[in-house]
């Protein structure tokens, strides 16, 4: 706490006054104030589309406010562009990854500040420095591979490495943890506290309550581009914070349902991913069941989802309602009644230059008419339905998807899949970047899908979510299922142990 107290007395490191940002069709910020002190960890929260990223971008020099001013060290400053922000010691990890896919890890980490010797880039020291940061983060990858070849999580780690290795006075993390596993998240949060102790100010945007409570000293809440208020953490009760964000009580967060397990819908037998990351895996899921899949990064849980979704080539047998499914071909997989939501939204889900409407209907093309002819009336109707039903915040269905806030993009991706009326849903990190309110809405939808007789598989790195949702949990360890948990056996402890060591420690078993 002491750090916090000192901070309050000093002049704020950065102060935003009455920031307004208008976009065609929306006002993202309507006169928002924000102050952050050196050595303080301030969490900025609010619903999807409430303006958090926009505010962050304004501080980071990526966007210019239409009105309002910014004071740095009490002096009014115009942060013209990202490099100006850097010079002020403001470093930001933006919500969308900003890596150069064809360049190496080393170069991405050192981008814009490659060490020079005798006028020429000193690669050996560049690679050494990159190495060192990654070690701090306890990430063990070659600094010489192009980031294109890394998983989302590792790419996020590279992004983080870049940020913390640049001597920042203010560090902005816009949902930096959203694509990190629990373990990686903990490491990052530990680093954040460390930085804070060193007097670095951290502005942390996140939808994950536990993180805020474990790390932040204050929370500033936005709703619809207006400031709801700032409250001290962890003293403020979660319910109150959530109420500030959503404007109502959420009640039973993860929701629940009358679990009625029906006949077996999905049979997986000896499923192997061609890349060898996942060794033969077998299990079944029944109608009305929600199966959670846990595991560390690289444990093969991602490959399970991708194989079932037809995203990567795989062998083995998969049956839906007794019918064999041809693997490695999304078309057949969908036809067989499997709906898949990939975890890498940017790379494998969004149609970037297209509208919200197109991003929804791309999943329904076959259903929007007969003989390949699309009935735009049906299309418009369904798009409208989906936007309402899944609470997508957009000024019009014609708006370019990439102009939506991160969470709203995710809702579009989920919505188009849920609307397919499939037998089996395979959802990889379904609530990545989604706000608390919408999360519980999505959980409700998953329950609804399940109760309507679908088999739902949720692959997630958020343990609370898994535990809250799943009737049964498979834990992956080194490429194969090392444990299956049901009922009371399901706990952070057991899952954690299995994921890390592949076995449950005796004492836990005793406890349970």
């Amino acid at each position: 706490m002491s750090v916090h107290d000192d901070a309050v007395r000093t002049t704020p490191l950065v102060e935003v006054v009455g920031a307004v940002r208008r976009y065609p069709g929306v006002v993202a910020l309507r006169g928002v104030d924000l102050t952050i002190h050196a050595g303080e960890v301030l969490s900025l929260t609010g619903e999807n589309g409430s303006g958090k990223s926009t505010l962050a971008k304004i501080i980071g020099g990526v966007e210019q406010p239409d009105e309002g001013r910014i004071l740095v060290d009490g002096r009014q400053t115009v942060i013209t562009d990202p490099s100006a922000a850097r010079d002020l010691g403001i470093v930001m990890i933006s919500q969308e990854l900003t890596l150069a896919p064809s360049l190496t890890v080393a170069e991405n980490i050192m981008m814009g500040r490659l060490p020079r010797r005798g006028g020429r880039v000193d690669w050996s020291s560049a690679r050494r420095q990159a190495r060192e940061v990654l070690d701090q983060l306890d990430v063990h990858i070659s600094v010489d591979v192009p980031v294109r070849e890394l998983s989302v999580e590792l790419q996020q780690e590279v992004e983080i490495a870049r940020a913390i290795s640049s001597q920042a006075r203010l560090l902005i993390l816009d949902e930096a943890t959203s694509s990190l596993s629990e373990a990686a998240t903990d490491r990052l949060l530990e680093l954040v506290r460390l930085q804070a102790q060193r007097g670095v100010a951290v502005l942390m945007i996140s939808h994950r309550m536990p993180e805020l409570y474990s790390t932040a000293q204050r929370a500033t809440v936005l709703r619809d581009g207006t400031l709801v208020g700032s409250v001290p953490l962890p003293s403020t009760p979660e319910a109150q914070l959530v109420r500030m964000m959503v404007g109502r009580d959420l009640g039973d967060y993860y929701g629940s349902r009358e679990v009625t397990i029906g006949e077996t819908v999905l049979e997986v037998d000896g499923l192997v991913s061609a890349d060898g990351e996942m060794s033969p895996t077998s299990f079944t899921v029944s109608a009305g069941e929600v199966l959670g899949v846990a595991g560390l990064v690289g444990s093969g849980k991602a490959q399970l989802a991708m194989s079932l979704g037809g995203a990567i080539p795989a062998s083995g047998t998969v049956r839906v309602r007794g019918k064999d499914v041809a693997l490695g071909d999304p078309r057949r997989v969908i036809a067989a009644g499997i709906g898949y939501v990939p975890d890498d939204r940017r790379k494998s889900a969004l149609l970037p230059v297209r509208s919200v409407s197109d991003n929804l209907s791309v999943s329904w093309l076959r259903r929007l008419g007969r003989g390949g002819i699309i009935r735009t009336s049906v299309e418009r109707r369904r798009v409208k339905d989906a936007i309402e039903r899944y609470g997508v915040k957009t000024s019009s269905p014609g708006k370019r998807i990439t102009l939506l806030s991160g969470g709203n993009q995710q809702k579009v991706i989920l919505g188009r899949t849920f609307a397919l009326g499939c037998d089996v849903y395979v959802l990889s990190e379904p609530t990545r970047g989604v706000d608390v309110g919408s999360k519980s809405a999505i959980y409700a939808m998953l329950h609804e899908l399940a109760s309507s007789g679908a088999a739902v598989i949720v692959v997630s790195s958020e343990l609370p979510e898994l535990i809250g949702l799943s009737d049964r949990i498979l834990v992956f360890f080194r490429g194969s299922v090392c444990g299956e948990l049901t009922g009371d056996d399901i706990s952070e402890q057991t899952i954690g142990d299995l994921a890390v060591s592949g076995r449950v420690h005796a004492n836990d078993v005793l406890n349970s």
Partner: protein
């Protein structure tokens, strides 16, 4: 490409080539929204086109005449047809460098078929089939053998070119007196009530292409692939087949263009106008179709072709010296597009903080 260029080619408020959104189901309305969308992407070109036409109408009395208008149409039909094929390809994220060469090759095939004395119908069908075939060659190499499209179409460009030369050992086939040519000749030449068949044909082709792109799942697939082919694949779109189809369509358009070409010239020549390829691609891009794919449409392409066609026509009428033509041509082009960019960046609005880029 730099984000700025991206910004310029895919402008934030530039709408998109997809289905009409806020449009009532009625055709009229959707046509209107089409126009809005096109104009959104190509203000500059429209403005430029209007200004050009006014200028020419004033300075060149002939310009505004119906006769001259039909000239422009007839004189640019070949470019238009090729450009429509190119639009499909570019929307899907590719580029077809072989399109002009394919045109020449199919033209020669048409000539040979006629000289072989097969009737008009067979000759026409044969030519179109051959066009399809050439397109399929590109398509298969690209979509199934996964050879980069630039390499493939660069290669087929020179193969088709040489094929055209080989067929008649470099000579132009004079089709005028060949029986079977008559109908095609009439088609390229005659009109109903002053409206050339060519004009009608062009309109039909454009409308069909626009409808295919907007109201069929194939068309939507083209946009999806051009926008993010992995996402398209995961949503059950048959990427390989769609890509193949796209190049086949380009081949078919080359076939159509060949027929018009031969019909107008009453001869099939193996020599390719070296500027044709660039003109075609230019027309598509000027029309606001993003060269990175996923965005644009035939509406814009028509604009692009008209724009370039009118410039040429104007240069001839106001007979600008051969040497200076290029300068005028280039300046008009850049300025017109700059107008559009300027509009989107609000150069013409009162200066206000935060014009982005």
């Amino acid at each position: 490409m730099s984000s700025d260029q991206l910004a310029a080619e895919k402008r934030p408020d530039s709408g998109h080539g997809g289905p009409p959104h806020d449009a009532a189901p009625s055709r009229a309305a959707s046509m209107w929204s089409e126009i809005q969308r096109v104009s959104g992407r190509s203000t500059g070109v429209i403005a430029g086109l209007v200004i050009l036409c006014i200028y020419l109408a004033v300075t060149q009395p002939v310009f505004a005449t119906w006769g001259n208008t039909t000239n422009v149409v007839a004189g640019n039909s070949v470019i238009l047809l090729l450009a429509i094929g190119a639009t499909f390809v570019i929307l899907s994220g590719g580029i077809d460098l072989s399109t002009a060469a394919a045109g020449a090759a199919t033209a020669m095939v048409f000539g040979e078929l006629l000289s072989a004395g097969v009737g008009a119908f067979v000759a026409v069908v044969g030519t179109l089939a051959f066009g399809l075939f050439l397109g399929a060659v590109n398509g298969v190499l690209i979509s199934y053998l996964k050879i980069p499209f630039l390499v493939v179409t660069l290669g087929t460009l020179s193969i088709f070119e040489s094929f055209a030369l080989v067929l008649s050992s470099g000579k132009t086939i004079n089709t005028f007196t060949l029986d079977g040519f008559e109908p095609v000749y009439r088609f390229a030449l005659d009109d109903v009530a002053g409206v050339p068949y060519l004009l009608i044909f062009d309109v039909v082709v454009v409308v069909v292409a626009a409808l295919v792109l907007r109201y069929t799942s194939f068309g939507r697939g083209v946009y999806a692939i051009g926008s993010n082919s992995e996402a398209a694949r995961l949503n059950g779109i048959n990427v390989a087949r769609t890509t193949l189809m796209v190049y086949v369509i380009a081949g078919l358009c080359a076939g159509l263009a060949a027929l018009v070409q031969v019909g107008r010239l009453t001869g099939a020549s193996p020599n390719i106008d070296s500027t044709l390829l660039l003109t075609v691609i230019a027309a598509v891009l000027i029309g606001g179709t993003a060269y990175t794919g996923g965005e644009g449409g035939v509406g814009g392409t028509v604009l692009g072709v008209l724009f370039l066609g009118v410039i040429q026509n104007g240069l001839t009428l106001s007979d600008v010296s051969t040497f200076w033509r290029g300068t005028v041509n280039g300046l008009v082009l850049i300025v017109a597009v700059a107008l559009g960019v300027g509009r989107d960046r609000g150069w013409f609005r009162l200066p206000k903080g935060g014009t982005r880029g």
